[in-house]
């Protein structure tokens, strides 16, 4: 019997996978980077950014995201954590040990226009 060969998964793949999993979560968003921070756009439509540190067959994730406001930050981020642990492992076979979440912005539903502008909703 010859060996069936090896499967190598790059950290970028894990990052993209994790990011894509979060895109499906309601009330979770990200920031597009723009050019040197100019034109950066924070929206619930964008994907959160994820950094992966691989060690052996497991990894830790660092997520930067935005949340809709008002909702419990603890609960929303626990959902993110659970989703990532189960689905990243399911899709890539890499065990997720830790998910650190940094909440970068909160978007109130009431203020669609943002600061300085008024919305007539």
């Amino acid at each position: 019997m010859s060996s069936p060969g090896t499967l190598t998964i790059a950290d970028k793949v894990v990052e993209k996978t994790a990011s894509q999993i979060l895109k499906g979560l309601p009330g979770v968003g990200g920031t597009t980077s723009g050019f040197l921070g100019i034109g950066a756009n924070s929206s619930l439509e964008n994907r959160p950014s994820v950094d992966v540190t691989l060690s052996g067959r497991s990894c830790t994730l660092a997520v930067q995201l935005g949340l809709s406001y008002p909702s419990s930050i603890t609960e929303a981020t626990e959902t993110v954590r659970e989703r990532l642990s189960t689905e990243v492992e399911h899709l890539t076979g890499v065990t997720v040990r830790q998910v650190d979440v940094a909440v970068r912005w909160l978007k109130p539903e009431s203020a669609a226009g943002g600061r300085g502008a008024r919305s007539l909703a």
């Binding site: 650190d100 909440v103 109130p108 203020a111 669609a112």
Partner: protein
Amino acid sequence: MRRMAAGANRTGLIIIGLLLTLGGLAILAIGFGLAEAVVPGLGAQSDLQPVAGVFALPFSALLALVAAIILAVIGLRWLAAQIPRKDAAKPLRLQRDARTGVTTVTANVIAEAVAEDLEATPEVVDAEAILRGSAKQPELVLHVDVDERADIDAVVTDIAQRVTRNCAEALGSPLATVAVEVGIARTKQRRQRSVSL
């Protein structure tokens, strides 16, 4: 809203004030001959040669330099202390179990969401929020500018019932203290630049 160095200012004023008063009174006491009873020969007619003599002592220029540096440091630090401070809370940790990862939110992120939420209150023209304390004992300081004809009771009720409740929900704990300063924007001073429909 922001914190001022009120305590330091008052202490500084009292210390310098006392020094000036004592110095001034001493000069007057000698000038009017009242000090002669304590220091014989130190009267209105004696000259200031002993004072001028101090400036003629060796190394007095070096001492003057050292004194100048000390005074300059005190003056600069006192001036710097006048910049109003936000004293916002340290980044909040909101995870359930740190072993599976930590959740961090800066006080600024929450304060901005609260301010944005506040601006959705009818008749609020401008709003600023500062979050102090900790995740377990949050303190929210708000400043709102409302329209001059606004129903202020309605604005305060909205803050009490909606804005602060939203913040408490996001943080997952009741707010230990909420302080609101209500300013009035005169119509001619207020100018809304855009409207999004």
